[in-house]
Amino acid sequence: MALLTITDLSIAYGLADGRELEAIKDFSLTLQRGQIVGIVGQSGAGKSTIGKAILGLLGENARISDGEILLGSENIARFSERQFGAIRGKRVGYIYQNPMTALNPVLSVGEQLIEAIEANTHRRGQAARDHAIALLTSAEVSHPEERLSKYPHQLSGGLCQRIVFAIAIAAQPDLIIADEPTTALDVTVQQAVLGTLKRLALQEQIAIILITHDMGVVSQMCDEVYVLSRGRLVEHGATARIIGAPRERYTRDLMAAIPSVDEKRPRFDVLDAFEETPGRRRGIDYLKSGIASDVGQTILLSVRDLSKTFKGEKRGEGFRALDQVSFEVIAGETFGIVGESGSGKSTIGRAILGLVEPDAGATISLAGRAIASGDRKGLSQRLQCIFQDPYSSLNPRMDAGTNIIYGIVAQGLVDRRSARVLAEDLLEVVGLPRAASRKMPHAFSGGERQRIGIARALAYRPELIFCDEPTSALDVTVQAEVLNLLKELQESLGLTLVFVSHDLAVVRQMCDRLIVMKAGQIVERGSAEQVLTEPGEPYTGQLLAAMPRVLRSAEPS
């Protein structure tokens, strides 16, 4: 008998006006003991909804409108909250996308692990504690005993996710639902964490439903894949078959949107034709008239001996985030800064933008002139930033248009009346309709918000835009659209971009030259082509090796 059989599952969400929205329609899946299957699709496709339905965790406005979910021989689709108590943690474990928010911030990780053991097994007290240490050991957590007394904010994301793994396997469940288990983690950590997950599954004979948008992860982990689009199953089959010979257009698009470290493509094959409207034309003209596009070998930004020490709590105990960093950015190029989180990438950006004060001895000059860190107002017209998280970088109480122009109006760069028209023009420049100007940020998707963020940065007509992981919070297909947009704007406007990312595949697609950062120092520099194909440093090699690749023909290892 199959471990889990989902037949014609439909899930509906009640809307505010009384109508219902079918989030999942006629979804079926069969899972054998010990098998790993993937559910892939864009965000909003309904992947997580399926995972939550299996655990009875759907919100109160959602209901299973049709179909059944058989766990063994029991139909859990109609289970009550009470009945699910016998399933959750005991027969089905759960791994959540963001380990930092999955753990309760005010309880120690030990308590959170031990309570799961006590809730789901017969172990109590010291026996539960001993088991906790054994679980942490098998989840490859170093110093397991010390970790028990720590709180989530004291541990890294990778460690927190391993603790979440330990919680999920505490009662040796038959099945684990892993909802985007590595999306919030660094690439280098991602590999190791996935390795642990796969080993645990094999060792304990646990089946896994892996929910992800990342085809690379799927190709490494899964025996079978289910492709989901707008709540409907598009196709399913063995991983090698789906990746090697996708039958459906949607699956092919999903694959085409994945940036590759191994080759550079001029554009991603996604549909994003811009309509040539008068407003868009006007917007481009506005930008062109202000952004100097003398693409030559002139050095636009020069950074010399940039160091930054963050003071520790005790005297004399400082943390050196940046150590003697020097580089130059040529006008019109895209300059990459890569490295793991904590390597100092973002600190460079903050120092350039004047948001942190560098240590004495650093010189940062723009177009040959040194910039004083106090001159924030003058700087903001010349340097702009596109932020990592499009959800928190827009003011939620202002509509999209106001978000774009309030800065330039406040600085007197344009008058209030023409600013409104300009905002609408710029929305068209980034591929959104003029009417979007009146909508509030929450009405937009992540990709649309990031476009608004780009329009906001462009409005200043800056000489240089600092892009801090601009797509790491976005889906692959949305990421492809945003990257295409940046490339297109760069070509038509001659923008100079400094592009910070931990994703080497994205960097490969975007950057002309780059530096590789490790622990605050530059370990390698050169053209993107050369560094990413023939890395001179072992560290760069490690970063490259850690990138998940879509194994297009090979069997999953």
Partner: protein, 321 residues
């Protein structure tokens, strides 16, 4: 953590000093104790003699410095009206206020937190709507009016509780307390309930909004997913996260009630310090008012310090930063 506790006394001393200047100068401007005490038919000579006896004939800065010097020796002055050291007066009355406020706080937390969590978790239940309606009314009703209603209902109509006064007390650690005396406790119920109603309403609202926010956090869903049963889910995961705003407001309310539960004490003729303050202001008893305000400031400082320490215990992110 320790440095954080140790940094306080300096700041607090400055605060106390500023407070003492303000109150001292304020009382000097708004009242003339000599006029009040001497009466209308006193002669000019009588007034001057009285002023000299009280030390009020000297310039204000000199009076203030003398007052500061006396405080440093532990002498907060002598009441113009009662002719007794003000500290004695205040500490005689303080237990009466403290026990009423304590009972009110217990009522507020014991009813408010469970009601708030219940309505946060069950947004659509009829009981939630009832709680919401009752707390809105309870919060908006004027304190004195509510006190009169209580007297009317429980003392006049039902005749189950005494209307005014303190009733018998039992001595405990040198303090006279009604809380430990069964008959005395009956006298306490109405004043405590009168203070407690607003507290219950406020704690209900705080607990409800906290619950609604925390309930949708990822860690709550994850805790459910890992098989944690509702009692622990609410008692540990939820409660621990909603307590910080509750502690903040409890601390502020505690201070305010001890210092200024004047209306309730007046209506119920409860001999607490609120009533002492009111009488002192009417009679221009400057030493009492000034000493009272300084002690109250000191109390606020201490309560806030305790609240900050509780934050650190509740939230490790505060503890380790």
């Amino acid at each position: 953590m320790m440095s954080f506790v140790l940094r306080r006394p300096g700041q607090s001393a400055i605060l106390l000093l500023i407070m003492s200047v303000l109150v001292f100068a304020g009382m000097y401007v708004i009242s003339d104790p000599v006029a009040v005490m001497a009466g209308e038919d006193a002669t000019q000579a009588d007034r001057q003699a009285l002023a000299a006896a009280l030390g009020l004939d000297r310039p204000l800065p000199v009076q203030y410095l003398t007052f500061l010097g006396n405080i440093l020796r532990g002498d907060f002055g002598t009441s113009f009206v009662y002719g007794r050291p003000v500290l004695d007066l205040i500490f005689e009355r303080l237990p009466a206020t403290l026990e009423v406020v304590f009972l009110a706080m217990v009522l507020g937390l014991a009813f408010g937190i469970p009601m708030g969590i219940y309505s946060g978790l069950n947004r659509k239940k009829p009981a939630t709507k009832l709680i919401s309606m009752v707390t809105t009314i309870g919060y908006s009703i004027p304190n004195f009016w509510q006190a009169l209603l209580f007297i009317l209902i429980f003392a006049v109509w039902l005749r189950v509780l005494p209307a005014t006064g303190r009733g018998p007390t039992t001595e405990f650690l040198g303090m006279q307390l009604s809380l430990l005396n069964p008959e005395g406790l009956r006298y306490m119920l109405l004043p405590a309930a009168n203070l407690g109603v607003a507290l219950i309403c406020m704690q209900t609202r705080l607990a409800r909004s906290g619950t609604q926010e925390v309930m949708y956090q990822d860690y709550m869903m994850f805790a459910r997913a890992k098989g944690i049963a509702p009692p622990r889910l609410i008692g540990r995961h939820l409660l621990r996260n909603i307590l910080i705003p509750i502690v903040t407001i409890t601390a502020l309310e505690l201070g305010t009630l001890i210092a200024f539960s004047t209306v309730t004490e007046t209506v119920f003729s409860w001999p607490g310090i609120g009533k002492l303050l009111l009488d002192a202001i009417y009679r221009s008893d400057r030493p009492v008012v000034v000493a009272y305000m300084i002690l109250i400031t000191l109390m606020f400082v201490l309560i806030n310090l305790v609240a900050d320490i509780i934050y650190a215990i509740l939230d490790p992110r505060i503890r380790y930063s």
